[in-house]
């Protein structure tokens, strides 16, 4: 055991970047031929930024019209969420990302974590409050979803919009293979989220994920994942989730700003224990997103999901979407959604979303 600790410490030591002053000073030989053009003094433009983090604010405005007489209906007009992000490098070994979400009634830390980027053994460690690495949609913020809502299976089995979002530790390992991107992630959380509950300190929840990705051609790729989560549910027993996700992407490099297609499915199996019995529920969605022109996208999604505590209730339906990008920094989206709830009621709605962002240019999610 002690030897292992020493080995790890030793490996950490090996990976620590050398101190600048200690770098080997190599003499720079002077080229004899033609004198190269004098370097132009152009500092990398710290501008007025100094050590401030990159700051951005994203507004997510939603509107809904049409028929939905259930308790799940969303309001007619709503400033659904305002997300402020603060992102910067902490020190040579880590970076930090904070996302504060302001919604109708509350302000909360949607995510706030540190990522250690210089660990040995192909490890990446995140510590803080995070969205758990269960499947695809759970880890996504609202503004990167290809829809105005979250699929029904997420509402029914994964805790809804908040999902598995909790304080904890995430450790992931990248297998050093050339042909396949293979990544294993293990996470431990306090156990307190929309889905899990932790009345006692020992009621931790766990998330595990294995992701495999491969480029098929330069324009197409396949992304597969298997996920597992377990924790204590609201009646004091254990809920286990098993997930499978598959994504196929097409984006021709030469026409990358005009054309892309993303086909995705996520399937989730829930095993919820409840005083002596185990309730099994299943749900999933399949979606297709297609870019028609530089600023126009269409989409379609099919939903079907049983309820976690009563699998005899099945919600099913579908959506079609149209999205327009005035620029990289704003987005207008309309979604027609038909949904038949397990209780028998039907909802036909038009959902509208306006996303707008100011501040630093964030990277695009993949």
């Amino acid at each position: 055991m002690r030897a292992t600790v020493r080995l790890v410490l030793f490996l950490v030591f090996l990976n620590v970047p050398s101190i600048p002053g200690a770098e080997a000073q190599t003499p720079t030989p002077t080229p004899e031929a033609t004198a190269p053009p004098a370097p132009v003094s152009a500092p990398a433009g710290a501008g007025g930024k100094m050590f401030n983090p990159d700051i951005a604010v994203i507004g997510d405005f939603l509107a809904a019209a049409g028929k939905n007489d259930t308790a799940f209906a969303s309001p007619s007009l709503e400033m659904h969420e305002t997300e402020a992000s603060f992102q910067a490098i902490v020190d040579p070994y880590a970076r930090a990302d904070f996302f504060l979400a302001f919604s109708n009634e509350e302000v909360g830390v949607e995510e706030g974590f540190i990522t250690f980027t210089s660990l040995p053994a192909s490890l990446l460690l995140k510590v803080g409050k995070m969205r758990g690495a269960f499947g695809k949609v759970n880890a996504m913020h609202n503004h990167v979803l290809p829809w105005t809502d979250r699929p029904q299976v997420v509402q029914n089995l994964l805790g809804g919009e908040e999902g598995i979002s909790d304080a904890g530790v995430s450790l992931s390992h990248l297998f050093p293979l050339r042909l396949v991107y293979l990544e294993a992630t293990g996470e431990v959380y306090r156990g307190e989220s929309e889905l899990f509950h932790a009345p006692r300190r020992g009621d931790l929840s766990y998330v595990g994920r294995l992701r495999a990705y491969r480029d098929l051609t330069e324009s197409t790729n396949l992304d597969l994942g298997g996920s597992y989560a377990s924790g204590h549910n609201d009646v004091g027993f254990t809920t286990q989730l098993f997930g499978f996700d598959a994504t196929f992407r097409y984006r021709p490099l030469r026409r990358a700003i005009y054309r892309r297609a993303i086909a995705r499915t996520e399937l989730i199996w829930s095993r919820r224990q409840d005083s002596g019995e185990t309730i099994r529920a299943f749900g999933g969605y399949a979606s297709l997103e297609y870019q028609l022109a530089r600023r126009w996208f269409v989409g379609i999604r099919a939903d079907r999901s049983e309820r976690a505590d009563d699998p005899s209730l099945v919600d099913e339906g579908g959506s079609v979407l149209l999205t327009f990008w005035p620029s990289e920094f704003s987005q207008i989206r309309g979604q027609y959604r038909h949904l038949k709830y397990g209780e028998g009621e039907t909802a036909d709605e038009v959902l509208f979303q306006l996303l707008f962002s100011i501040g630093a240019h964030g990277a695009h999610a993949f």
């Binding site: 053009p37 132009v40 490098i89 990522t115 990544e183 990289e328």
Partner: protein, 307 residues
Amino acid sequence: MNRLSFVAALIAASLAASQAGAALQVVTTTEDLASITREVGGDKVKVESLSRGYQDPHFVEAKPSFVIKLHSADLLVVVGRELEIGWLPPLVTQARNAKVQPGGAGYLDASLHAKILDIPTGQLTRAMGDVHPQGNPHYWLDPDNGRRIADDVAKKLGALDGANAAYYAERQAAFDKKLAEAGQRWDAMMGPYKGLKIVTYHRSWPNFTDRFGLDVVGYVEPRPGIPPTPGHTLDLIKEMKAKNVKIILVEPYFDLKTPNSIARETGAKVLVLPPSVGGEKGIDDYVELFDHDMQMLVAAIKETAAK
């Protein structure tokens, strides 16, 4: 004792590994930087570019397969000036490689000593479109900047691989000489056309037009990153007619519909000109890029000279 010998073996193994993996693994974000690094690094480096030359370098997808490449890289060379801001940062974070983190020993921003144009002054807002606060990132299109990049690359390779520092310096000097001579050739080719008015699609060419004395009177995009609008297109047509502009330069990754309709209205010629190595078949290195673009440009000017 056992443990000690184990540690010793580990050290020996890691040393052996660093000796055996002779060639430095270099990843660049664009093919232009890859070409320059190959010129300097010769057979002591193995260079791979993440993006292709026919791809818009602003909009590259952050594919996990790039993480694999960054994971094993000894050196990452970036264009900088926020060109890659939309896709590179998450890849570097996930690379699990301390060397290529910003500020790490194996991270090189190629723009640090280059001549950078279009550095905005005064208040900056997104009403100007997708502007780059640190200046125009398409700076590699001036061969003198190519020489400055090569100089930086040689110094960095020498610092990472001291045993071959002289080799890199020698190759850099030879490349510098080659570029200096080629630069004179290109200047001579463009000499007769100094002051020629052209229009370009995106603001990709300021270093190129500055170096070779072309006068850009307008852009097909109303603002950087904003697709053409009918109103702006009409204005541009009017201006091109008034100033007798006969050439529209378009990067290979943009749609030709608007440029073609402008050309029909004005009698100008649409010239698809690759701004990067690999932008077209046969453009395999940095010198060939300029050779190709110069020939195409001069041919187009001659063709439209019967104005």
